[in-house]
Symmetry: C2
Subunit: 308 residues, 2 copies
């Protein structure tokens, strides 16, 4: 079944907020569920502005334990409680995230109205596996331990040629279902092959989220074939020394990862406060990758299925 | 010596932010020093917008340990460190604030570049005493332990009538100083009385900050004679039941405290997100107190000396 997917940038500034940009947070709405990647301080304000809803089915993934990526969780828990959230909230991150949340839940009176399930990620690989998608993680290379994430929808079954099947006189029901699920059937003494009435599997969407990191070969492999890659681009390439010193990436480096990974679309984000506007970063990355766009606070992006 | 004093509201929303209002924080700039009352999540963004400066001499006073009043300290510490602050930062609040800061400084990598001196307040009375002002606190009445604060500038010496003293032929220097400091002197065989050449002491400014609270007789006494009182006004009085339930105040109650305390000017703040705009709260309070104004994010207010 096709589902809508929409990405909303809730914060696009590196380290410190600016008047125009809040701290790191990316929301992906998918089939009624909200997947949040990072929760920088103050992100709840853009969360509210974007109308995302405090009581929604939701998972939060934190890339690393710098304040500008995780502190916003505290206010989010507070506001969700004020609004009487009852659904469990699932939060994923490094073991230190668990300590951060448990200690603050002990010290600050949130009056939590719902369960917070904190999942400490050890190592790499699958973080979440649902019936129709999975989220995996990979070690990034930052000044402290950090993770990158990737969301993969599973392929959907190919299109079922109902007209053709009707023409064959096959009755709806059990036999339809078997054909749709790849089984060949016998009807009226004839073999009907699933492959003849069902198209090839339709690929799901693949989204990569870098968090804070230097570009690495490992991440280039991890993000291989992404439809959309959101990669941090703290500096223009003339500030490479600064990027090396602070373990961040330049726009050129982000674009190089995206190109080598075969990512179809690259969003740059996590901009140093020194950039009032982002055209220089986009220009630089566009020399390397053909489809580059700068993230902006509250920018909403529909993510279509890739062509079959 | 006369000094400028300016108050800037950095956040005026209760509990949860709205698109227009951030979480509680009030900055008072006085003689180059910044006194910050509460630091709700995201306040650093308005702090930056107001151009207050991350490297300034500064003291922070926290009223209570709800997330919307203290979580912003984490981002503030982070951004101050990014900007290489070297000055010590003095933070005052309940013992739990100390625990909150120490635990988060342990868990999150702030890369602190400066000393954070955390002063745990036990009981009531003087919190800070400097040469020309003091800050005191009083227990408020909220759903968790909470404090109200008051800033009192000490009276300045009266105006020195230089012309008159010159006419008497008294030479500048030691004798001037003695007269200015209230001592009578003998000059040319005559007694010159300080009171004859120095006017009456000129009163300093007195500012009250309620934090979150119900109105109480104790607070009315504590805020007695304030030039400016900033009192929480979460609800209009038709929501009194809600105010009682959540241990907040209505605009009517805030104005009643201000009037009974003899406060000259009342700022309402800490508005429930249900109020898109604040005219109903101001109208209600204005029926009781003659000088009421609603706080707004980034509103700057010059606070003049009271008339002598």
């Amino acid at each position: 079944m096709a589902t809508n997917m929409q990405m909303v940038f809730l914060g696009t500034s590196a380290a410190a907020p600016t008047p125009e940009r809040g701290l790191s947070s990316i929301a992906i709405m998918r089939d009624g569920e909200l997947l949040l990647f990072d929760a920088g301080e103050g992100m709840q304000r853009n969360f509210i502005k974007a109308g995302l809803g405090m009581n929604r089915k939701m998972k939060v993934f934190i890339t690393h334990m710098h304040a500008d990526h995780c502190v916003g969780l505290l206010g989010l828990l507070q506001t969700m409680s004020l609004q009487g959230r009852e659904r469990r909230l699932d939060v994923y991150g490094q073991p230190r995230l668990k300590e951060f949340l448990l200690e603050n839940m002990r010290i600050i009176n949130f009056g939590l109205t719902f369960e917070v399930a904190i999942h400490a990620i050890e190592g790499e690989g699958i973080v979440v596996q649902e019936s129709d998608y999975k989220v995996t993680c990979c070690e990034a290379e930052h000044s402290i331990p950090a993770l990158s994430y990737r969301l993969d929808e599973f392929d959907r079954p190919g299109a079922f040629n109902v007209e053709l099947v009707k023409k064959m006189g096959i009755p709806e029901g059990e036999l339809y279902s078997r054909l749709q699920h790849g089984q060949d059937i016998e009807y009226n003494g004839k073999i009907v092959r699933s492959a003849d009435v069902v198209g090839p599997p339709r690929p799901g969407r693949k989204i990569g989220i870098s968090g804070d990191t230097r570009p690495t070969d490992k991440l280039t492999k991890f993000f291989s074939g992404c439809d959309v890659l959101v990669f941090e681009s703290t500096y223009t390439h003339d500030k490479l020394a600064k990027a090396l010193e602070t373990a961040h990436s330049t726009a050129t480096e982000a674009a190089t990862v995206a190109r080598q990974a075969g990512a179809k679309k690259l969003f740059l984000t996590h901009f140093s406060a020194r950039y009032d506007e982002t055209s220089a970063l986009v220009k630089e990355a566009s020399a390397i990758h053909a489809n580059v766009e700068a993230a902006e606070d509250l920018k909403q992006v529909d993510i279509p299925y890739p062509p079959s």
